[in-house]
């Protein structure tokens, strides 16, 4: 079943009066945000609030010999100057490991470095002052004597005997290693008609959020309670971690997450400076605010994707893929990030490589090594862009080698649409995907034959255009299999509480969070539809551990699929409760009634029986008029967690059309397409925005973004002038198409859509560039980002 952007879905259980499922309704928070009335952390000001600035290590690796703080302590406005050793008395260190990542190890990390700084940018001292400017002024007065230590900055040699070990207690620089060998790989390669090998590099980059990381911590000594205003994706996870490392109970910690200016996975981790800010509030017994500036963001926000993957594919002459093999090496920071670990990304590369294809032979090795660089962890589409680049890069190189069309080779190998449930060679369980239908849709959407004809015509004029594709699968709606089974207090379930107010309007409290992606719109749509009111009668509350159901927050494309289902079910439950009241008032059977557009109606005739305002008036103010023994329950809570499948995999295919200027090595993006299948589409506009935004971040990885380090571990381009985020002028039009295969795990059937764009775009751009340059005999480009210099080198022009 295909849908186009705004068409209503076919009739299903989801279609009710006031059905907003499948509709591009505006976000309920739109007016507030566009009128500048959002509440970001920068907007939070509390009485006696102080500001902290962190002095950060200029060295990638150094022993802290001494810290002289006297001058800073006497500087104007300074409240306190606190070292790592002093803060260690307030907060315990943490270790970023998970039990289901066998053998993963890391060293204890402190909120502020104690004795040793392990990357350029690690906080080594805190200055708390009345203003951020005063705190920064005082930072300049702190005198730290460092003894520089050798920096480990090359992943390729991190495990060599001659390389210094960053944490002596660990014995070596290996954080995590995984090996997988499925089927008969050697035999399959031996029997292949063609074998292609290539080494892929995905450049270290980061997710640049419009709003930087930010936190205000407020320890109330009288109440013995910590309130943390936090730009985070996972308030309950952070509640647990703040409590654990301050030795408090979770009931002593409240995390409030109001508006968040983008997160992309950047704001779902434990950051030492945020933990330190919370600890400082406890130490100083007053509110402390930390807002990362752009310069410190570049050396502290998690980086991602720093991988070198040797890949190998075997194919028969008729295009059947016989085997995949990869050897992945990734250099993370000096610590595995807490609590999700820095092993997950490589683990995902192993899981996802070859994912769309029905190929039983697969061997993989992944090694994760420590480096004296900023920490690496999960960023939007964790591991996917890397696995998809390797897989799709190999598939198109193999197609070229045997002279087969790149779409045709995919048709011959993608899991058949009628062959589900299925399982990938790596063991991923697939409920229902639609690779072939998506491919066919894309083929038509891009007018593939026409595009190829145009490409050929222009080549004759010396214009080199390329067409590239990337099929992909995407992890969404994770169950406890992702983190819970590994011992992390990261819940995979989520809840929604829905209540009828005294005027008949609805409020929903949800455990998922709004990051600017429109989760609140989706929640309102689900509740309005299942309960039976117009959306303007629904108010959404998120991001408050005191007042929302316990939930996981927003990550791994879970907010709509999991949070939306909980909201849908809670709305249904409240409808049942309200109809029980209506039945009592109207002396009717509740099952003969329904709620439509905020009015209780006769289910069969639709005749209006009772307004919700009147129902609420009676239930709240004249319950004495209700039958004896009847109690109105006007608040309902429902929780939901996926149980039937570990993950709700989605699938899709992207295409890129671009032009390479063979004189300059510049790439001009002409058009981009994505056909994806996220199951039931709750809001097509929001899904398309997710796809487009994700594609743009993937284009960033392919062409622009890279955190450049020198051999001493100094980041060379940590500012917005030198680190190139993709900008609107260079972006192509991005067309979205959809196939709908709902998951049977929930009534809504919605899977996630947040990461599909990012997963496929880098591979797609890479393949298009190589398609453009193939007639010129250029070496295939596999080292992202594809800068003009790399393209000129491949063309032999420099």
């Amino acid at each position: 079943m295909k849908i186009t952007a705004d068409s209503p879905p076919v009739l299903s259980i989801l279609d009710r009066p006031n059905s907003y499922i499948g509709r591009a309704v505006p976000r309920p928070n739109l007016q507030r945000l566009t009128q500048g009335r959002g509440q970001y952390i920068s907007d939070v000001t509390l009485p006696r609030m102080a500001h902290v600035a962190y002095l950060r290590s200029p060295h990638a690796h150094a022993r802290i010999v001494s810290i002289s703080t006297e001058a800073a302590k006497n500087a104007p406005g300074v409240v306190a100057v606190v070292t790592g050793a002093e803060l260690a008395k307030v907060m315990t260190p943490w270790v970023g490991v998970l039990t289901h990542l066998k053998g993963i190890k890391s060293a204890p990390q402190s909120p502020i470095a104690v004795e040793r700084a392990c990357w350029q940018g690690e906080a080594v001292c805190a200055v708390v002052a009345r203003t951020r400017a005063q705190a920064e002024d005082a930072c300049e007065l702190i005198d730290i004597v460092y003894e520089e230590l050798p920096a480990v900055t090359n992943p390729e040699t991190a495990l060599d005997a001659g390389t210094p070990v960053i944490h002596a207690s660990l014995g070596d620089n290996l954080c995590f290693e995984r090996k997988l060998d499925v089927g008969e790989v050697d035999k399959a390669f031996a029997n292949s008609d063609a074998v292609v090998e290539a080494t892929f590099v995905t450049g270290r980059h980061t997710g640049v959020c419009t709003e930087p990381r930010a936190v205000v911590a407020d320890w109330n000594e009288g109440e013995q309670r910590m309130t943390v205003y936090h730009a985070t994706q996972a308030p309950h996870m952070m509640q647990n971690l703040f409590a654990k490392h301050l030795d408090l109970s979770e009931s002593q910690v409240r995390v409030l997450t109001k508006d968040v200016g983008g997160s992309f996975g950047i704001k779902v981790h434990t950051y030492a400076d945020e933990m330190a800010t919370v600890a400082l509030s406890k130490l100083l017994k007053r509110p402390v605010k930390f807002v990362a500036d752009r310069i410190e963001s570049f050396v502290t926000d998690i980086h991602a994707r720093d991988h070198r993957i040797k890949g190998k594919i075997g194919v028969s002459k008729d295009g059947i893929i016989t085997a995949f093999e990869i050897d992945d090496l990734t250099g993370i920071g000096p610590y595995s990030v807490y609590p999700r670990t820095s092993g997950i990304e490589a683990n995902q590369v192993v899981n996802l490589t070859g994912g769309p294809y029905n190929c039983p032979n697969y061997r993989a090795q992944a090694r994760v090594v420590f480096q004296n660089k900023n920490v690496m962890c999960q960023y939007r589409a964790v591991g996917h862009p890397i696995a998809v680049a390797v897989t799709e890069g190999l598939v198109e190189l193999a197609a070229a080698k045997i002279g087969m069309d790149p779409l045709e080779i995919r048709r011959r190998n993608l899991f058949p649409d009628d062959g589900y449930p299925a399982q990938t060679a790596s063991g991923l369980k697939l409920e229902q995907l639609s690779h072939h239908e998506a491919l066919a849709h894309l083929d038509t959407m891009i007018d593939y034959a026409g595009l190829r004809a145009e490409q050929k015509k222009l080549r004759d004029k010396g214009i080199y255009r390329g067409i590239g594709f990337a099929s992909f699968i995407e992890v969404t709606n994770p169950s406890a299999a992702f983190y819970g089974v590994g011992g992390a207090k990261i819940t995979s379930q989520d809840g929604a509480t829905v209540k009828l107010d005294a005027q008949g309007a609805i409020t929903i409290h949800s455990g998922v969070t709004e990051q600017g992606q429109g989760a609140e719109a989706v929640l309102a749509q689900c509740v309005a539809s299942s309960f039976g009111v117009s959306m303007d009668r629904v108010r959404v509350v998120t991001g408050d551990t005191d007042n929302t159901p316990y939930g996981g927050g927003t990550w791994a494309s879970r907010a709509a699929g999991i949070g939306g289902e909980a909201a849908w079910q809670a709305g249904k439950a409240l409808r049942g409760n309200v109809l029980a009241v209506a039945g009592a008032m109207l002396q009717a059977k509740p099952e003969d009634l329904d709620i439509r557009n905020g009015i209780v109606v006769d289910k069969t005739t639709g005749a209006e029986r009772l307004g919700l305002d009147e129902l609420a008036r009676v239930a709240y103010f004249r319950p004495d008029t209700l039958p004896p023994g009847f109690q109105a329950e006007l608040m309902a809570t429902r929780h939901y967690v996926p149980r039937a499948w570990p993950f709700a995999f989605t699938n899709g295919i992207q295409a890129s059309y671009l032009e390479v200027d063979t004189d300059t090595g510049f790439v001009k993006l002409l058009r981009h397409w994505c056909v994806e299948d996220c199951g039931t589409i709750i809001n097509p506009q929001l899904v398309n925005e997710q796809i487009r935004g994700g594609v743009v971040q993937g284009i960033g990885a392919a062409l622009f973004e890279q955190c450049l380090y020198d051999e001493r571990g100094q980041m060379l381009n940590g500012n917005m002038a030198d680190y190139l985020v993709p900008m609107a002028v260079e972006m192509p039009d991005i067309d979205c198409g959809h196939v709908v295969s709902p998951t049977a795990d929930s009534e809504l059937g919605a899977k996630g859509a947040g990461e599909a764009g990012t997963a496929g775009a880098p591979a797609c751009i890479m393949n298009a560039i190589n398609d453009a340059l193939r007639p010129l005999g250029a070496q295939p480009l596999t080292d992202m980002p594809f800068t003009p210099g790399k393209i000129l080198a491949a063309l032999g022009k420099i």
């Binding site: 400017a133 190139l724 993709p726 002028v729 003009p788 210099g789 000129l792 420099i798």
Partner: protein, 279 residues
């Protein structure tokens, strides 16, 4: 990203600003602030005093007089971008304008500030050099005019004295024989170019004479490519590319070798622009 403490003074006249510069050797002039404020916020510079010259009258004009276009130091990029005088009489400036940053930057940034700051990767210093323009300056010893050939001294270093203020730039007005060319290569629109080229020439029958090629982004100052100029005047584009003697350093966006290659590509493109305009 908070600047170190500094004093602020709004100057009401050039004389006052010059006097303040004399009294405060660590002071900096604030015009559009598009480069200065970023360096302050990153604490890359920490002047004791900012002397705001935006309130000084008479420095924002754009005028065509006596065969020249005179642009006041405080004229904003956007003023030049929208000026009919610039479009008609200084077409190279008009051509370069859309490449300078983004509209928000052009709304505040001034032409005088760009020339005084003399960023070697910026468009306007190269345009000034390509056009063989002049810089008017005023200091404690009075006014003087500096030819472009004498103006660019080194990285962010100009002939302006410590107490001198750039008051205007003057460019020869274009006529029917004026030929101009401009091209730059930046990864993203509005960024500083990896390499750029501003050029001017005079039509000479079927050929060109007085060819001036000014590269930016390839050295410590905007650089003339004199060997290439001579070859282009002979109509020899291949010879011009071969005569390029630039030795750009590696930077974060490109190696010197890439820049050098791209300089040759730009030369061909700009040469075509110069020649296409032939009557």
């Amino acid at each position: 990203m908070k600047p170190a403490p500094f004093a602020y003074k709004k100057a009401r006249s050039l004389d006052e600003a010059i006097a303040l510069l004399g009294e405060n050797p660590e002071a900096r002039l604030l015009a559009g602030g598009q480069s200065l404020m970023a360096t302050l916020n990153m604490r890359l510079s920490a002047p004791s005093l900012l002397i705001d010259i935006n309130g000084i009258g008479g420095l924002g004009g754009i005028a065509h007089k006596s065969g020249a276009v005179e642009i006041g130091a405080l004229a904003r990029h956007t003023d030049a971008e929208r000026s009919a005088t610039i479009a008609q009489h200084a077409p190279l400036i008009a051509r370069a304008m859309p490449f300078i940053g983004h509209p928000a930057i052009r709304n505040r940034g001034t032409l005088g500030g760009s020339i005084a700051f003399a960023d070697p990767a910026a468009e306007l210093p190269a345009c000034l050099l390509a056009l063989d323009g002049e810089v008017d300056a005023q200091g404690p010893k009075g006014k003087r005019t500096i030819k472009t050939g004498d103006y660019f001294k080194g990285l962010y270093e100009t002939a302006l004295g410590p107490q001198e203020i750039l008051t205007a730039i003057r460019l020869p007005a274009a006529d029917s024989n004026t030929r101009i060319g401009f091209a730059e290569l930046a990864r993203r629109h509005g960024d500083y170019a990896i390499v750029g080229l501003a050029a001017s020439a005079r039509a000479d029958g079927k050929g060109l004479k007085n060819v001036r090629l000014a590269y930016f982004g390839v050295g410590n100052t905007p650089l003339r490519a004199t060997g290439a100029e001579a070859a282009l005047a002979r109509g020899d584009v291949d010879g011009a590319v071969a005569a390029l003697d630039l030795e750009p350093h590696d930077d974060i966006q490109a190696t010197g070798a890439v820049k050098k290659h791209l300089a040759g590509v730009l030369l061909r493109r700009v040469a075509a622009q110069l020649m296409e305009q032939r009557p």
